[in-house]
Amino acid sequence: MQLHISTGDGSPIYLQIANQVKYLVASGRLAAGDEIPPIRVLARQLLVNPNTVARAYLELEREGVVQKRHGSGTYISDAASPLARKERLRIVSERVDALLAEARHLEVEPQELLRLIKERSLSIQPKENK
Amino acid sequence: MNTPATALAWELWRRHRLRLIAIVGLVLAFALVYPALCTLAGFNPGSPDALEEMVKRAGLINNAGQWLQQVVQVLYLLFLTCGPAVGMVLTLLFVTWMFTFTEFDPRNKDPMTFPARLFTLPVSTPFLFGWLFLGGMTAIIVLYGCWVYWVPQPHVDIFGVYQNCFGWMTLLALAQGIVWALAAWPTTRMVLLMALLFCFLGSPAQRDIFESPFVLPPLFVLGTALAWAGLHKMRHGQWQGWPWPWPFAWWSGRAKMRGPKRFASPAQAQLWFEWRRFARRLSFYAAGLVLVPVAIHLLVRFVAGLGPMQDDTVLGFVVYLLFMPPALFFCFAVAPPQTDLPFVMNRPLSNGGMMMATLKAEGIGALFSWLVVLAALCAMPLLGVFQEVDQFSSALAQHRAIILLGVMILSWRLIAVSLGFTWSGKRWLARMPFWLMLMAYLGGVTLAMLAADDATWNSFWRLVPGLLVCLVVVKFLLAFLAFRLCLKRGLLAPSALQAWLAVWALLAATLFIPAAILFHDQPGFLPLSLGIILLTPLARIGFCPIALAWNRHA
């Protein structure tokens, strides 16, 4: 499991870990039933305090992304898939917000934007059909 | 400070300020006081028979007065004959060391490193060399001139070439050459320096050899060339080690560490530490200072074909052997390396534990050094004719054993008592052993003046027992207070205290029993036994853990 932590970017480390795990699940790199490393191991790998990792795992467990099995470690929960969709929508909606802000700044109307999206998706499709 | 030359001069002055003032003071003291002392003793240093006269007087002393008075008078005569010579030699040696311009390097913990910062300054190497070389020569000539013209010195042949100014200049050139050219080989450098020192000061060869034009001038040129080259090479990083893998280094690197696989206790580990850090080096220096002269003499005698050592040379050598360990221990006592103290003070080791380990290691070091000296003394008959020395010491024959024992314990004692001062971490306290030595010296001089006249000596002698009893009482009181404080604060374990008291009793007994056997019927026995009790260190050892705690918990 490859995670990347950056300090000083404003968001708490435990949140970065939790979000990245959720992203990995959402993009399919972590499937339901995969084991994620124990807290100590991940802490040493990332060079982060174990309590921070523990907090991230607690957050993930609370949200149902992972579950602890007695004595044998932490695994991605089977119930991850519906959350995956929720996560995917959340990520894309963030990108949509950014796009909308940019468009507003450049004075492009939302109608114009929708037309642009449809046009671009059409132009991409033929390439996929090949 | 406008020029590099004045800057260097200021640096030299600033570093050795107090010592230079002390040298000037010493020269003045000898210039002013020594002639007065000589006239008082009826001794004319200028006459060519001065030495024989002194020896005759020493011989006469044997029969008159009591033993302590005799000893004091002999020592006083020794001082009158050799004092100026010793002073001159020591001050000139110091100036020589000063102009090798080495200092202590905290990174390598090497006490004789040429400061690399001089090479990063915009000064050329010829300038550095010129300044140090010419400055050194000038200083030597000036100091030599002061000693020779202001202080009337008897002609004493104990030291080899010391009364030859060009000889001193050659010594400086060679010393600079060895120190700078061999900067990468500290042990070799030390051995060569000791050999150099011995050749110049304690040489068994005849004086005329040094006056021949084929000896000193080539050596002077050699020294200058070596110094010049050494400084250049040092600046550009050459001559800083063997360019090929040295097989000896491979061997010593592969050799397993001797000693137990795992130390049995912290005390044992600390003893090993103190031995390796300090006492082993002390023993090596003592061994070196004994073996190098012996080796040189054997070389000169059997290879160069010169005859066996002559009488006065033998006497000088015996005197050197007996006084070298105390002098060496005193040098170590006054300036022990303090660099590893923070590391040790962070270990879970009590102050008492640190002290006991150091005392034990120093004891072992002292024992080892003296064993080497005794071996050399026993080997003396092989080296030369022993007649005059036998004559001279026959008067002291019975006392030989106790004198030897006394000097041995005295030399160990020098380190042990200064421990508290140096461990306190305060610079002014670390200088205390030096001041105490000075006071003892002045006390000795006063004693000598009293010993000159029988009447004053007898009245003084009546006071002595009472005085000594008071001092012994004060000593035990101070010791009691110190040890009580140590136990109360937990600085010293009760078992360690018991061990130390046992050792103290053993040391005192070792000195006391032979003295009792030899002197029990003599009148000076009581003062002698009290003196023995005073001499073995007790109270200052008690203050040692307290001083260490003062440093450790500032």
Binding site: G10, N49 | R262, S265, F273, N346
Partner: protein, 300 residues
């Protein structure tokens, strides 16, 4: 090691220290809880090393109380030092010793010394056993010091500016050692540093010192949550930094200024509004920015 032992590993109350005329420590109080990593940050000369020396017993408290595991380090140095693993800033290892001699010598003082673990660490750090300490580079020297501080698994790992002047590889080794220590249950780490990214990564609790005073102390998460970075936009361009009471520092130019405040967010927003500015963006500052903000305030 009793996991339910709630008493702090190090407790300092009202500590003052004067060196001649300078007041190096001014009423310093802090608690290092067991099983946590405590980061002490401060500028050079703020008093971090002085404080650590008090914990070691190398300085005696002139006024105030210092207790390590409930013991006084000055009165009982052997008991306290036996439970502390210390890496000094000064790298005061004896230059004449070899690495294997250093291990054997130090092993004698700590009953819990693990020879196998020490050997594993030595191999991991790449230290040749017969190398003299004098010949080690700065990084290897730091590693040797760290090795002898870790090998007996001390209850308190005390590090004084462990990463100063070291390359990133050695810094990673040190961070890993810190994390490994605290991941083994119950052991505590107390380290001082001015490399704030490292403190942010591994510290649980934080204390910030300036000029001998502790200006900030608490859990790292709480400290970060309490500080806010507000981007203020003023109606008219400000010729100099606007005075907004309640903020620690304010930087910027023209119309837009960035202010960092500690906990008093509402007051700061109100004060900014009074000065003619409004908040256009808000997020959490990094520890670096918090440190610089506090450094800029006048602490007497």
């Amino acid at each position: 090691m009793n996991p339910t032992d709630a008493s702090p590993a190090v407790e300092i109350t009202g500590l003052n220290r004067r060196f001649g005329a300078t007041l190096a420590l001014n009423q310093v109080s802090l608690q290092v809880r067991r099983g946590r990593v405590f980061g002490l940050v401060g500028a050079n000369g703020a008093g971090k090393t002085t404080l650590i020396k008090h914990v070691l017993g190398r300085l005696k408290a002139q006024s105030g109380v210092v207790r390590v595991f409930g013991l006084d380090p000055v009165a009982d140095p052997v008991a306290v030092l036996g439970r502390i693993g210390y890496l000094s800033e000064n790298r005061d290892l004896p230059a004449w010793m070899r690495v294997d001699e250093l291990l054997r010598y130090t092993a004698a003082f700590y009953p819990k010394w693990d020879m196998a673990y020490a050997e594993e660490l030595r191999r991991q750090f790449g230290l040749a056993p017969r190398a003299k300490i004098r010949t080690l580079s700065r990084g290897e020297n730091a590693k040797a010091g760290l090795l002898i501080a870790l090998a007996y698994r001390p209850e308190l790992l005390l590090l004084d500016e462990p990463s100063s002047g070291l390359d990133p590889v050695v810094r990673r080794d040190i961070l890993e050692a810190i994390i490994r220590t605290v991941a083994d249950e119950g052991r505590t780490v107390f380290f001082s540093s001015h490399l704030l990214e490292e403190v942010e990564r591994v510290a649980d609790d934080l204390a910030m010192m300036f000029n001998g005073r502790v200006v900030l102390a608490g859990a790292l998460d709480d400290v970060k949550e309490n500080h806010h970075r507000l981007v203020l936009r003023f109606d008219s361009p400000q010729p100099s930094a606007p005075k907004v009471p309640g903020v620690l520092s304010i930087t910027g130019g023209g119309r837009e200024w960035t202010a960092i405040c500690n906990g008093k967010r509402e007051e700061a927003v109100a004060a900014a509004a009074r000065a003619g500015g409004r908040v256009v963006a808000e997020d959490s500052p990094s520890l670096d920015e918090i440190f610089v903000a506090w450094a800029g305030t006048k602490t007497e």
